[in-house]
């Protein structure tokens, strides 16, 4: 599930939650406009400090990925994915650089890397279109 926590990971728990929700939205596990469990509910469910969960929700809200409607709860934002596009592009670029470094150490050539990336991108969008 998107709220699974890997205790062995060195990633802080709140970051894992943020990543988990982002991925779940991107994969369509969480739909736009869908209601998320409240901080209290989630804290009790996964036995995590409620402030940690609140922190994750706050970060997601700041990024416009989820939104809290007073008295009604927390929802996946409707244009969540579009929000903050400039920032997002920059972040993706940074991640891409990491992949490049990794590829360099693995001794991949430019063509090989492009092939792998192309395959991954194609597969991703194919899955997404089937899902819809």
């Amino acid at each position: 599930m998107w709220f699974d926590i890997n205790q062995r990971s060195s990633t802080p728990i709140y970051r894992q939650l943020v990543e988990g929700i982002k991925q779940a939205i991107a994969r369509g596990i969480l739909m736009q406009g869908e209601k998320l469990p409240s901080v209290r509910e989630l804290a009790a469910r996964i036995a995590i400090n409620p402030n940690t969960i609140a922190k994750a929700y706050q970060e997601l809200e700041r990024d416009g990925i989820i939104e809290t409607l007073r008295g009604r709860g927390t929802f996946v934002a409707v244009q969540g994915i579009k929000a903050g596009k400039g920032e997002r592009k920059k972040a993706v670029r940074e991640m891409a650089e990491k992949i490049l470094v990794e590829a360099y150490y693995l001794g991949l050539t430019q063509e090989e890397l492009m092939e792998i990336l192309g395959e991954a991108v194609e597969e991703w969008y194919r899955e997404r279109s089937v899902g819809k």
Partner: protein, 305 residues
């Protein structure tokens, strides 16, 4: 201004000339979950027993929920749920008799809640305390602690002696309590995973002394690993960057383990124009080993579990 639900000022306990707890000053913010971690025999239980009035402190004092401790009236304990490390209840009493006694002692005893918890844990009321397993006794302890409608929960090794499933239920209940009621939780553990999930503030106790008390986030974010590869080997100046706890070498890769001021170290390392630079978070265990090593303690015996 932060309200402290629990505060100790120089609490000290001397047993036979040895300081079991040495000048312990802690502050636990209201509504927070505070984890006290340390190896067995570090003084966790002694400290908690002093808070609960079981041991009288040799020196020092404190306050809980605004009431001074040590407290001769016992009034301060009315709103505190306490789960001891070993449950020493009357062995010849039935579970329901223990509960009846508690309901007479605690002013805000919540009978319905108690019944619901009994059902949830499937604890037989007619059983003698003597015939309960260690885990069942701990459950009974938690049932009592939650039925008093506490504003502060004090838990000494709460998940000790429980199997993984119960352990999870136990932590769930406690997190539920703090999320719903804003109950402050002060718990001791030697288990880092419980600590990381539950606590937002953490204090380390070793040989009776509090080494430090910090937000867990701060602890984790200040202690990270920066891996770098330099074009012409490592520059000499990079060896003395302030805030670096340790430098590990592995082939051409140098790992800087930071203890504080991560950002500062990151900029300094970047300044040496490395060809490869990466940050890695450390898991809590590494963080602790590094921080403790800096405090002059090795991790011997600390993380055996």
């Amino acid at each position: 201004m932060t309200v402290w639900a629990l505060e100790t000022r120089g609490l000290t306990k001397v047993f036979n000339g040895e300081k079991a707890v040495d000048d312990c000053s802690l502050q636990v913010a209201q509504g927070s979950v505070f984890g006290l971690i340390g190896p067995n025999g570090a003084g966790k239980t002694t400290l908690i027993k002093m808070l609960m009035g079981v041991h009288l402190p040799t020196a020092g004092n404190g306050q809980m929920l605004g009431k001074e401790i040590p407290d001769t009236t016992g009034e301060v304990r009315q709103e505190i749920g306490y789960v001891a490390d070993t449950q020493q209840m009357y062995p010849h009493f039935k579970v329901e008799e223990i509960l009846q006694f508690c309901s007479m002692v605690y002013r805000n005893w919540d009978r319905q809640r108690c019944q619901a918890l009994l059902k949830g844990f499937e604890l037989p009321q007619g059983k003698l305390v003597r015939s309960l397993s260690k885990g069942m006794k701990t459950q009974l302890g938690l049932i009592i602690a939650l039925s008093v409608r506490p504003r502060l929960l004090i838990l000494d090794e709460p998940a000790g002696g429980l199997d993984p499933v119960l352990r999870h239920h136990f932590m769930q209940l406690i997190m539920q309590e703090t999320a719903r009621e804003g109950t402050t939780v002060f718990f001791s553990t030697h288990n880092l995973y419980d600590l990381e999930r539950a606590a937002e503030q953490v204090a380390v106790i070793m040989k009776g002394k509090i080494l430090f008390s910090k937000p867990l986030d701060q602890l984790k974010s200040s202690s990270r690993k920066i891996q770098a590869v330099f074009p012409k080997g490592m520059p000499e100046e990079a060896r003395n960057i302030p805030g670096v706890l340790r430098i590990e070498e592995q082939g051409r890769i140098y790992s800087f383990i930071t203890g504080s001021d991560f950002e500062g170290v990151w900029e300094r390392v970047q300044g040496f124009n490395p060809v490869y630079l990466e940050v890695m978070d450390l898991d809590l265990e590494d963080v602790f080993i590094n921080v403790m090593a800096k405090e002059g303690y090795t991790h011997e015996g600390l993380f055996l579990e």
